[in-house]
Amino acid sequence: MKKLIIALLISFASTSVFAGSHSPCGVTSGSINILANEFTTYRIFMDEVKSCAGPDADFNVTHSVDHNKLQVAALSANPAEFSAKLVTNGSITPLMNDGLIRPLDDLVAKYGSNLNDNQKITIDGKIYAVAFMANAQHLWYRESILNDLGIAVPSTYEEVIAAAEKIKAAGVMENPYAGAFKSGWNLGQEFVNMYLGHGGEFFKSGSAQPNVNNEKGVAALNVIKKLTELSNPDFLTQDTNAVKEEWESGNVALMHVWNSGAASLLDDEGDQNIKADTRLAPSPTVGGGNKPATTLWWDGIAIATNTSDENAEASFRALVGAASSTDLANNNPNATVWLIKGYTPGDTAGPVVDAASRGTTPYPSFPHMSLMHGALSTELVEFLQGNESAEKALADVEAAYIAKATEQGFL
């Protein structure tokens, strides 16, 4: 009896440490159904979410590289197809535009005591998402190849091009550069990076009128063109995952891909010689600019509006349990740059921290940005194939954007 009282006292004492908050993990009621992008870091995160949800939870997750295209339709349905969605500062805007994700203030108050303040994404004073990682595209290089040819680590795109040309001329590699140039979202993103690197603005200030057909846009396109000429001729079909395969096959010496790629590029699978030779570097600047030609991203969790409160709570508990798990962060320090409390950054966090400290622009979160991104996705291909001038391609982008924005009611 005495022992029981002590045990009760101890357990009472331990719960009182979390006064006013509930432990998120161990979900027993409600069902959890998450839509998420597909890459290794998300898989690691989802393993933690699943273990936080516990064995009794009704748990489902769908990983898809097409998550951006699925999300609006899937969450518009009532009840929504998914109870939660992993979002980024890019993909959250279409959901916000239609009010498809719910404010999380009450759930954060209940279960989010272990969150950092900067994890809470607030829009107009309400929390709509909880971020768990930061990401950015930056330069990756093969140290031995650069050393053999006496090339310094490039810090501008002009140097990247010179380095790639030198590697090609030396006959070391046929296509030494790689980037995700797949026509579609990836290609649009390359332009976004390069245009922001040149100091461009996508819209005329204070309006939804496009503003890419200018000198900065042309300069950005010309740099992309140079880079694609040093890439695999199939570049228009290669997304980030395909580029990572090229890297692991040893076909590439320089590439500009996501920091979170470290989770698969630096794991124990694949050619360990290439892994040992892989180095990360800050994202280069371009055209004499002082900001790196890349964008900052956060990845976070959001809960559907059109789902029952029970499912919303269940999903939030499991997700926020992982998003505040110091163990997750410190057991996988190189998987990405975690925003989780108590995380000690690993060796690979440098380029993202560098990008943030040098004032890199976060990916623009205008409500009409995804229409611009969509227009960039399809209208730049002909220029890269040499069938069109840069000015014509950018004029096409603006015209395609205007037609779509008019139909959507932004213009």
Partner: protein
Amino acid sequence: MPHKTFFWFILPTGLAMILFIGLPIVSSFFQSLHIETEQILMEVENCDPFGCKTNVRVDVEATEKLRQENPLGRFNGFGTYTDRNHLAFDEIGEAWNTSSSMIEFKDIVLNLPFYKALLFTLTFCFAVTPPVIILGFIVALSVNTLSKIIKGFIVFGTILPMIVTPLIGSLVLFWMIDSQGIIGASIQILFDDPNLSLKASSNLTWITLIIYGIWHNTPFAFVVFYAALQTVPQDPIEAAYIDGASRYQRVRYIVIPHLYPVATFIMLICLMDNFRVFEPIIGFSAEGVAQSLSWMIYQDLRNENKMLFGSAGATSMLTIIGIAFLLTPVLIRTWKEFRTER
């Protein structure tokens, strides 16, 4: 058949067609006349891990209120049909006035999304259909002469391309034509050009898609021709044989005239099928260089942002009109044949 019997006979089919084909078309047409209600924007303060700043967002409540009042959206008439992403009347008019030569005019027009897609769709249609009919006929003739024991296996093998799901079939080929795949690498060795890539140039991509289309569609023509071959009367063939007609003459003067209506049928179906070419474009990741009308609809409905229902509806209507144009000559021909037979 008396009209009354015919009416009762066709009634269930007619009702089902109105319900599942007619009404959706009418509904798409109405949707295509509308665009989204105006989006009301407001300035808000956003905070994220990279700091706080003022940004614009859509005023969901106000926009939702407008949407409740006009669930279909704003009436736009045929505005969507004539905008740049469809028939582009303004752009074509301007091109006509400003371009100095027909070639320049043609370049400007074929750079517009709808006409670009139409060009590929028609090219695909007319490049795939004739080879499919000819190849299907040759394969059917060849298989028909095989001995019974191996015929079953050969027929099965021949129709495999049709059984394979188009998306899977094109993905398999996509990896085979990769510069490290068996076909891609062989072609590089054959032409002695290590940079040759079937995926890189638009012409080669078009040719790849067309060859895929022929590969995928031939079994259909084969199956129909093969079935029709079983109905060719043996008496005239034997008579011709006795008269000393060669195999070519027997095929040319007896088999082909007998199969003529079947060929028209295959052409009809093939043209319709190929006009809505879509899966291989996705499978071959060829969106960049080859867009079809169906792909445009897909793009509108799976845009990065919201679904553009009006735009998709307009493209659907234009596709239906396109198919109608394409099939009219074939239908008129069938009708004439039908009349002469009576």
